[in-house]
């Protein structure tokens, strides 16, 4: 809890500074847009956080977005599938790929970094091949207005991705911090061997975290496709896994596994996105975007380990 408080304060401070330097930060348009983006990124960052808690990593998220986006456009426009079927299909594909990753990691004992690095290359290539390297979109085609509304509409004045994030966060909070399964996730991340000795199917627990990450990636993939409204397979979702990893780490996840929280991940996501917003609003050259982000993540983690060590020594 202390961990989250620290970066929460950082988030508040950052918002305050930005708002003072540029009042446009608080304008309804900007806030709505922020909420939209935080929603989008928050959803798949939670998925990646789960994988990280088991001691794994998933680098293929961004490429899965490209694949999901291309498939969604094709399913709706070229195959003319009814929207619920298309949506389900686009969610099931990343879940299946997650299951594949999980199996390779647990049964074949290949390191998660390598498995998902191959995934990163593979799915990006696949997406480009399927789309013939052409930009895909939804154009004026009809028949899936409902899906579009669910993905990019508003609810009680809030952008849908943000609403969906709240729902998912509540559910995943219960799963991670209150359920038996969540306890297993942490236990596996901390000591897989001892957990196995307790009669827990640790392989299944680890593999399932990749499937869950796939599910959340699929959902976020649909939202993202409608957010950009056009999917250019070579750049769509590029680097997004790194945003998620950075958010999770900022939010208190340890890449060694066994540590992290839903609230932390969401605050981490928000922090990163607001930082980008700040770069825009304050007129910092956007070429410095990544540099600022890298520096802040590094500072955050440094501060955390410094404070963490100190509290260990003094308390």
């Amino acid at each position: 809890m202390k961990k989250e408080l620290g970066i929460f304060l950082l988030l508040v401070a950052l918002c305050a500074v930005t708002a003072i330097l540029n009042p446009r930060f608080l304008s309804p348009t900007n806030l709505t847009n922020m909420a939209n983006i935080i929603g989008l990124f928050g959803i798949f960052s939670i998925g990646l956080g789960l994988v990280i808690i088991t001691g794994g990593i998933d680098l293929s998220v961004g490429s899965m977005f490209a694949l999901a986006g291309v498939l969604l456009s094709i399913a709706l426009r070229e195959w003319g599938l009814p929207w619920p079927v298309a949506a389900l299909f686009v969610i099931l594909v990343p879940m299946g790929l997650g299951a594949l990753h999980g199996t390779l990691v647990t049964r074949m004992r290949i390191q998660p970094f390598i498995v998902t690095l191959c995934g990163l290359l593979l799915y990006r290539g696949l997406a480009r091949f399927i789309a013939d390297d052409n930009t895909k979109g939804f154009g004026n085609a009809e028949g899936f207005e409902t899906l579009r509304a669910i993905a990019s509409g508003k609810f009680l004045g809030l952008p849908m991705p943000f609403v969906i994030l709240i729902v998912i966060a509540v559910v995943m909070w219960l799963v991670l911090h209150r359920s038996v399964y969540g306890r297993y996730l942490f236990a596996v991340g901390r000591n897989e061997e001892a957990t196995r000795f307790c009669g827990i199917n640790t392989k299944l627990v680890v593999a399932s975290s990749y499937v869950l990450a796939g599910l959340l990636t699929g959902i976020a993939g649909i939202l993202l496709a409608f957010y950009t409204n056009s999917i250019s397979p070579s750049t769509h979702g590029n680097f997004y896994e790194l945003y998620a990893i950075a958010a999770a780490v900022l939010g208190g996840c340890s890449l060694r596994g066994g540590e992290g929280s839903i609230i932390g991940i969401i605050i981490g996501t928000a922090l990163l996105q607001i930082l980008q917003n700040l770069v825009n609003l304050l007129g910092i050259p956007s070429s410095l975007n990544f540099a600022v982000m890298g520096a802040v993540v590094l500072l955050g983690v440094l501060a955390d380990s410094y404070l963490g060590n100190r509290s260990k020594r003094t308390s």
């Binding site: 359920s179 038996v180 942490f186 236990a187 001892a194 307790c198």
Partner: protein
């Protein structure tokens, strides 16, 4: 060391403690689990900083801020929980950080490092090649490697925190002889152990700690089991071992053709009755732990046929074993027995989460009740059950590893070195718990390398040698000589076959 104090959140681990060691002296440091022995030594070894007090080396006051400082002062520390690098070889571990280099490129001089390691291994009488990976060695050998490392550092004071808890008798005797030899060469030794017999044998002085304070000191001629115990726990323990009783339902548990991947060509069969404590003795490497792991489904390539109560039970995974009430308290508590980064509560409930959950949601209050119950029953020394297991003393960790299975009504409880690192008082409590469990109809299988324990606690003892049971001794024929003979693979007249077939 004078007036040393140290506190952790919620505990005063040490309060104004004094300790000294002369040149070439062997000082034994004893006390109950959680008395503060390891903490005191960690302060001397530079792992912890004291809250108060001073340390003098050769009469000069010193501040030991980290492990390097301690090394520089000639203090070597062999930790209770071993500190070896698994994927390095023996020589690499001995010279870690001080590897000999080749001239032009500063690469590790592979020839020299192995040649340099050899004399230390020989001095310890270790017959392992110096290029063996540590992960391929048993705990006992890993420990010997750590001692070799201390020797190579030219230490003038060697701290040994429960060095013999995972060694067999032969290895223990070798170590004790070595300690005496070292002390003859002017090396001082501070020796922590719960095995009071050893202390009697080698210590020139015994310092007793109780609840983080000095409880007294005994000189060599005054050291006796009873007086030590009295000082440690503040009372005398009248009945240490619980008398074995006759068993009730013969052949309740039958294991046939247990094969482990370590000894794929040997199979083990044995019977155990309800109400019985069946011991497994043998030298380190006899394949006892491996056999047991195969039995409970932890060894995928292995096989076993198990019958309980005349019914065949299928055990393919640890889950299967657990669902039949067969539980294993493994040998290595830190890597296999406990998730040390979790609390006592979370560890105790981990194997049985479903009974603490409603609709998949964990009921923390239920967990807490159960955990507190076990903490009390086993007298785990801790402020509360939310303490991380990592912060418990070694013996108290062992109690938690045991407690999680006791909370689940075992039918067959398998204990691999159950009292390793446990103090005398708690040992007798654990024996009592085992006996009670047996009397309520449980089957208890206990692997132990502690000869005393094997002789006094078990109803029958199966002795293993190189993957086979060489014989089973009943109470009447259970003597040290018989066990030792079977353990080295010789036959003994009184020994019986392991199973009815």
């Amino acid at each position: 060391m004078k007036g040393i104090s140290k506190g952790f959140p919620g505990v005063v681990a040490l309060n104004d403690v004094d300790l000294s060691a002369d040149v070439g002296e062997v000082v034994a440091l004893v006390g109950e689990n959680g008395a503060g022995k390891s903490t005191l030594m960690k302060i001397l070894g530079g792992v912890h900083q004291p809250d108060g007090g001073e340390i003098r080396v050769d009469g000069v006051a010193r501040r030991i801020q980290n492990v390097e400082d301690a090394m520089q002062l000639g203090i070597a520390f062999i930790h209770q929980e071993l500190n070896v690098v698994d994927n390095l070889d023996v020589a690499g571990n001995i010279f870690l950080g001080r590897e000999p280099r080749t001239k032009p490129f500063q690469l590790i001089d592979r020839k020299k490092i192995h040649a340099d390691a050899e004399p230390y291994l020989q001095r310890l009488g270790l017959d392992i090649p110096s290029d063996t990976k540590l992960e391929d060695l048993s705990v006992a050998y890993q420990q010997m490697v750590e001692i070799a490392k201390a020797l190579s550092l030219n230490a003038r004071l060697i701290i040994m925190d429960e060095p013999t808890s995972s060694l067999t008798i032969a290895e223990t005797n070798r170590l004790l002889a070595l300690i005496q030899e070292l002390s003859g060469q002017g090396v001082s030794i501070i020796y922590i152990s719960h095995r009071l017999g050893e202390i009697d044998e080698i210590a020139s002085r015994a310092v007793v700690l109780r609840d983080g304070e000095n409880a007294g000191e005994l000189l060599k001629e005054d050291i006796s089991h009873d007086r030590l115990v009295n000082m440690m726990v503040g009372r005398s323990i009248s009945q240490f071992y619980v008398e074995p009783k006759g068993s009730s339902k013969a052949g309740y548990f039958q294991a046939r053709d247990v094969r482990s991947s370590r000894y794929p060509h040997c199979s083990v069969s044995f019977d155990a009755s309800q109400g019985e404590i069946l011991g497994f003795a043998g030298l380190v490497g006899a394949g006892r732990s491996e056999m047991i792991k195969a039995l409970v489904g932890l060894d995928k390539t292995a096989g076993a046929k198990i019958q309980m109560n005349e019914e065949q039970v299928e055990i393919r995974t640890p889950r299967d074993a657990i669902s039949h009430g067969i539980y294993l308290v493994p040998e290595d508590r830190r890597s296999e027995g406990l998730v040390t980064e979790m609390s006592i509560r979370e560890n105790i409930t981990l194997p049985d989460m479903r009974s603490y959950a409603k609709a998949g949601i964990v009921q923390t209050t239920l967990e807490k009740t159960k955990a507190d119950e076990q903490v009390q029953a086993l007298k785990v020394k801790t402020p509360h059950s939310e303490t991380l297991v990592r912060n418990l003393s070694g013996g108290n960790q062992q109690k938690v590893a045991l407690g999680k299975w006791l909370a689940m009504q075992p039918k067959v409880l398998i204990l691999d070195e159950p009292t390793r690192g446990i103090d005398v008082g708690s040992k007798s409590e654990i024996y009592q718990i085992m006996r009670d469990l047996a009397e309520r109809g449980g089957v208890i299988l206990m692997i132990s390398s502690d000869m005393e324990e094997v002789l006094h606690v078990c109803d029958r003892v199966a002795v293993m040698h190189e993957g086979r049971i060489t014989g089973v001794l009943d109470q009447a024929n259970c003597t040290e000589t018989n066990i030792m003979q079977l353990a080295v693979g010789q036959s003994v007249e009184e020994a019986k076959p392991a199973s009815s077939e």
